[in-house]
């Protein structure tokens, strides 16, 4: 799994070549690496944007209005959950528990958490990221 992360850091996502390289290095098969990578949401089998926005939609967050937060992001970015904006800047996904239930709704931007997010905060977050500040590229 760390090898998959390294490959993902290099490529930004896990294209077939990356899976082949990892397999070769670990004496496994690409199919096996693909199986592992596809199990976990944090591995990307398709290209993702510069900012990955993950909205937790698991129970606690759902109770705190996560669906509205997600819908707000969809509106603001013009993509559906699971998609990437045309300019390649943003990828949006709905996520299983991010482990921050006490601070619902949790939104992770490039795996940095923002807590107690409400639908109303969304335009602000997007504007901030568009402005180029905010969570950097360090995943």
């Amino acid at each position: 799994m760390p090898a998959l992360h390294l490959a993902q850091d290099r490529y930004g996502w896990l294209p077939p070549e990356a899976l082949r390289e990892v397999a070769e290095a670990l004496d496994l098969t690409p199919a096996y690496c693909y199986a592992v990578a596809s199990f976990y949401d944090m591995y990307h089998l398709e290209p993702v944007g510069r900012y990955e926005i993950a909205v937790c939609t698991n129970v606690s967050c759902a109770l705190a209005g996560a669906q509205d937060v997600l819908a707000a992001f969809e509106r603001e970015l013009g993509v559906q959950a699971g998609g990437t904006t045309e300019d390649g800047e943003f990828s949006l996904s709905s996520f299983e528990c991010l482990g921050g239930c006490g601070w619902a709704t949790v939104v992770a931007v490039n795996w940095r958490y923002r807590e107690h997010v409400t639908a109303g905060d969304v335009p602000g977050i997007v504007a901030e990221l568009r402005g180029g500040e905010g969570a950097g590229d360090d995943a």
Binding site: L19, L28, A31, Y34, S38, F39
Partner: protein, 733 residues
Amino acid sequence: MSAPAVELVTVNVDGREVQVPKGTGMIETALAAGVEIPVFCYEPRLGPPVGACRMCLCEVEGMPKLQAACTLTAQDGMELRSAQTSAKAAEGQNAVLEFILLNHPLDCPDCDKGGECPLQDLTFRWGPSNTRMHFPKRTFEKPIPISPTISLDRERCILCYRCTRFSEGVSEDLQLVAAHRGAQSIITTFEEEPYRAHFSGNVTELCPVGALLPSTYRFRARPWEIDNTPTVCGLCPVGCNTWATTREGKVQRILSRNHPEVDDGWLCDKGRFTFDHLRAEDRLREPLVRVRRRGFEAVGYDDAVREVARGLREAGGSVAIAFSGGETVEQASALARLVRQGLGGDAAILPDDLDPAVDAFRAPLSAIRDAEICLVLGDEPVMERAPIVDLWLRAARRAGAEVVTVGPAGSVSTPPGSAAATSAELAGGGGSDELRDAGRRLREASRVAIVWSGDDHDSGRRAATLAASLGLGDGSGLYVLPRSPNGRGVAQAWYEAGEGRGFDPSGEEELGALIVSGDEAAYDPRVAQLAERARFVFATSMFTGDHTLWAHVVAPGTSYLERDGTVVNLEGRAQRQRRVVDPPHLDELELLARVGTELGVPIAPWAAEATVDDHAELAPRAQLEAPPEFAPAASTNGAGPGLELVVYRPLFSGPGVERVESLAFQRPAPEIELAHADAQARGIATGDTVTVGLNGSGRALRAAVRRKLRPGVARIAAEHADGLGSHVEVTKA
């Protein structure tokens, strides 16, 4: 072997008491008590149970919730109630089935599994007759060919993970996997590449539903229209036990017929899918006789028999025979008697000539799995020569055995062709530190398996000497892999028909007559050379080939699926091959009997009546006569410029396989394997096109870099090595 004393425990299943060894699986325990617990995912041959399907739910005294019985083992005093006596378990099982069927397409009338489908059977026997599912079912594109031989229907898949457990934990090819998770899980290969592995076909038998099916059987037959004949595969020296399914006199598929000591219920894809060669377009159906200037003419059997008898009689005792090694013992014996007793000839090309000393260390193949340490010697990849042996070795390693491979691609690296020298070193306690260490561990272990996979001169005797010097006792085994499926039986038949070995027909003299038995022999370049020196050549073969240009009489030959007789596998086990379908011409044995009559040699045209059981037992070990001393082994690795070429014979080759279109993807790619260091020095990476040859004349092949390969050595499949010498230079193209 000192087996630890087994502790018996008493378990109560549905009110019936049964005693079983502690730790026995609950499914088997219940069966011992006469209770069937239905299962889908449970299959002990795939490793530890996974409890994926929940079909086996049972009530266990003292446990609040229903338990998956397949994950439990027998403990003393346990009380288990299956769905047959527990309403709670029955309800649970019902719910499980309803759940499994939620997305199942129920297209049974369209499904090849229908009529022999565990899901269909269990639903019928235990399941609900109705569903509350009113939403549209999940649909997939179907069927998807995951290889030219296997189709996958994802709608029917119940995610029992039998297939992926096989791929990961039995054949260890890691090509068929479950991707994504939960309800989105799908069975898949990487990037829609074909599932290309020697044992892929087994998943079609493991799948408890119609999700993975052999494409070659698609819409071919229904269970109530078929016959299953028990027979033995005749394509390699393992001799897996099989069922051949026929419909209206045609072979439609091959299934395993689990012999726990030989194959453990697995088949390789060669054994499973080669049957289509029976219908090859270039099959010979009539005898052919060469007529001056007019080429060949099809003739009746009377003429053919007369012509063969004439040619053989006129040879005046100068008769040689080339065997294929796939003949039954009865065929070989008829031929051997014809030559040695009827015609006074004494020369034969034997594909295998194992010293009988190996039988002093005879053991079932399954003993490999129980070994503490396995030693594999020789240049030929075990997987290519006797694939099931590779599975047993993998099973041994998973069970904790140390597997030491000695060879150019081994864990102990030795030069090509040095198995004989290495075995002498191992026996004498000499050699490199690594070898000495391995020798010590081999001597200390009480259960040892030695596999010898090479064409080294005199390998049988050398292997036996090694086994004797390492002190191999009961519980240990020696397995020398013959080149051909029944090479052992053929050699035995030849020896029995005359005095000893006779001689190898090499030399320069003219031959009166040459008999070429079968396609393998006909394709052997050595035999073609011999034919040039023979005044008369009689060949039997299934297919047309170059030999039909140099033979004088060619009679159509039979496939291993068309004859009745005995074959001896690598263990020395005599097994019964059955005629599954009739050949489209006279049986070879009957032809030989008629030639025999013409020449005054009595030959019974039929196989000795049912000599062997359906699951043949292994004969007891032979007595070891004092093993001969090691003759010093000549090192065969001659020096030369460039890389030393190791040529191996791939499993997916031979006259039968080459005629089966659906197996073309399994044939070896035009590829040369290079050692890591050699590749680096030449700036070559896997996938590069390289020029292979000497002095500028070369051919283009794809490079495959192997970390395990010994530097200075390159490896290639025989069919791509034509015309390449013992040493080659490899350059990036």
